[in-house]
C-alpha cells in the first residue's frame, strides 16, 4: 500500500490534478489577497507548505489516537481549528526567535494563515479518504505545493496586468477572477493524467 509510487500519485494528484486553488476553490481569499506581487507570494507559498504538512500530521495523530478511541469524532471541526490556530502561533513565535529576518519576511502571512480554509481542508480530506500517516502528510504537502504553484503563477500574471488597459469596472478583483478562470482552464488539461 505504501509504495513510493502510491505516494507520488497522491502528491501529484493533490498538487496538480486537484489543484487546491484552481480546481477545489480553497483558500481563495488569501489567493487573491497575496498574489499582487511575486516576492511575498513565494514566501507565503513556502509558509503554507510548511504549516500544512506539520498541522495535518498533528491532526492525524490526534484524530487516530485520541478522538477515535473516545468517540469524539463529531468535535473534529472545533479541535482541528484550535490545533491549527495554536500551531500557527507556535510557528510564529519560533520563527520570530530563531530567524528574525525570515520572520520579517513572513510575519503577517503566518498569522493570516490561521483563518485560511486552505489549512483546515487537508486534515478533513485525510479523514474523508481514510489515509494513513504517510499518505496524509504527502497529501497535505502536495496540496500546499499546488497552492504555492498557483500563487506564483498568478502573481506573475498580475504584475503584468498592472500595465494593461482594463475596462474601468473590471479592474482589480473582477479581472483577477477571469485570469484565474483561464488558469483553471489550463489546469483542466491535467485532469486525465491520473485517475483518483
Amino acid at each position: 500500500m505504501n509504495t513510493f509510487m502510491d505516494l507520488l500519485i497522491i502528491f501529484i494528484g493533490a498538487a496538480i490534478v486537484n489543484n487546491f486553488v484552481l480546481t477545489r476553490f480553497l483558500g481563495l481569499c488569501t489567493f487573491f489577497g497575496v498574489s499582487r506581487k511575486l516576492e511575498p507570494s513565494i514566501g507565503f507559498g513556502l509558509a503554507v507548505i510548511f504549516v500544512l504538512g506539520c498541522s495535518s500530521a498533528l491532526c492525524w495523530v490526534l484524530y487516530e489516537y485520541v478522538m477515535k478511541p473516545y468517540n469524539l469524532m463529531f468535535l473534529k471541526n472545533i479541535i482541528f481549528i484550535l490545533i491549527i490556530a495554536a500551531f500557527v502561533q507556535l510557528v510564529e513565535a519560533v520563527v520570530r526567535k530563531m530567524n528574525p529576518a525570515l520572520f520579517k519576511y513572513l510575519g503577517v502571512y503566518l498569522i493570516l494563515m490561521a483563518s485560511n480554509c486552505a489549512v483546515l481542508a487537508p486534515p478533513l480530506i485525510n479523514i474523508d479518504k481514510d489515509y494513513n500517516f504517510f499518505q496524509s502528510v504527502v497529501q497535505a504537502v502536495g496540496s500546499g505545493a499546488g497552492f504555492a504553484l498557483a500563487l506564483i503563477l498568478m502573481s506573475c500574471i498580475r504584475e503584468r496586468l498592472e500595465f494593461s488597459e482594463v475596462p474601468e469596472s473590471m479592474r482589480g478583483m473582477p479581472i483577477s477572477f477571469i485570469v484565474a478562470g483561464l488558469l483553471a482552464l489550463a489546469f483542466m488539461g491535467f485532469t486525465a493524467m491520473i485517475k483518483l
Binding site: 471541526n77 490556530a85 478533513l124 478562470g181 483561464l182
Partner: protein, 199 residues
C-alpha cells in the same frame, strides 16, 4: 430604523460575495447547481445569524486578548450543529456539499463580521447584521448557481427551462466557469455602483 438599515446593508450595498469579496471559496465550489447553492446559503445564514447574536451577547465577558479563539470556538460549535442536522435530515445535500460544509468554520465573512460588528454592537443589531449578511450571501449563491446551472445544464432546480435545441455549455459547471461567472458578476456590480454614484 437602524435595525432595517443594518439588515439592508448586508443584502445589497455590501453584499458579502460581490462587494466585500469575502468567503469566496464555497461560493465558487458548490454553486454548480442551485440545490447545492441553496443548501450552503441556508447553512451559512443560520450559522452567521446565530453566532453573531451569541458573540454580541457575550461581548462583555470575552476578554480582548483571547477574543479570536473564543469567536472561532463559538462559530465552530454552530457549524457542528448545522452539520449534524443536515447529515441527519438531508443526507443527499450533505454528500454533495462534502468538505465545504465543515469549512464554514473558517469563513472569513463570519469572523470578520464578528470582529467588526458583533463585538461592538448590541444583540438586536448584531442579529440584523448577521441576518442581512446571511441573506445577501444566500442571494449571491442562488444568483451564481442559477446562472451556472441554466447555461451549463439548461435546467433550474432540475427543471428544464431552455428548449431542447439548446446545447449546454458544460464549461460553466466545471471549475473555470465558476471563476468566469463570479468575475463578470463582480464587474456588473461595480458598474451598477458607479452608475448609481453618478446620478
Amino acid at each position: 430604523m437602524k435595525f432595517w438599515k443594518t439588515l439592508w446593508d448586508g443584502i445589497v450595498p455590501s453584499n458579502p460575495i460581490f462587494m466585500l469579496a469575502l468567503s469566496l471559496c464555497p461560493a465558487l465550489a458548490v454553486t454548480n447547481n442551485v440545490k447545492n447553492g441553496l443548501g450552503m446559503g441556508i447553512a451559512v445564514l443560520v450559522v452567521i445569524t446565530a453566532s453573531e447574536a451569541m458573540i454580541s451577547a457575550l461581548r462583555k465577558v470575552i476578554s480582548g486578548k483571547i477574543r479570536l479563539p473564543a469567536f472561532m470556538i463559538i462559530i465552530a460549535a454552530f457549524v457542528t450543529v448545522i452539520e449534524l442536522l443536515i447529515h441527519a435530515y438531508f443526507p443527499e445535500i450533505y454528500k454533495s456539499l462534502g468538505i465545504y460544509l465543515p469549512l464554514i468554520v473558517v469563513f472569513t465573512l463570519i469572523l470578520a463580521r464578528s470582529e467588526v460588528f458583533a463585538s461592538k454592537n448590541p444583540v438586536y443589531l448584531s442579529f440584523a447584521d448577521g441576518f442581512g449578511m446571511g441573506v445577501g450571501f444566500l442571494l449571491g449563491m442562488v444568483l451564481l448557481s442559477g446562472i451556472r446551472e441554466i447555461i451549463g445544464f439548461g435546467t433550474f432546480l432540475d427543471y428544464p427551462v431552455l428548449p431542447h435545441t439548446y446545447k449546454p455549455a458544460l464549461i460553466l459547471i466545471l471549475s473555470p466557469g465558476g471563476f468566469f461567472v463570479t468575475g463578470i458578476l463582480m464587474g456588473v456590480f461595480n458598474w451598477m455602483k458607479k452608475r448609481g454614484a453618478h446620478k
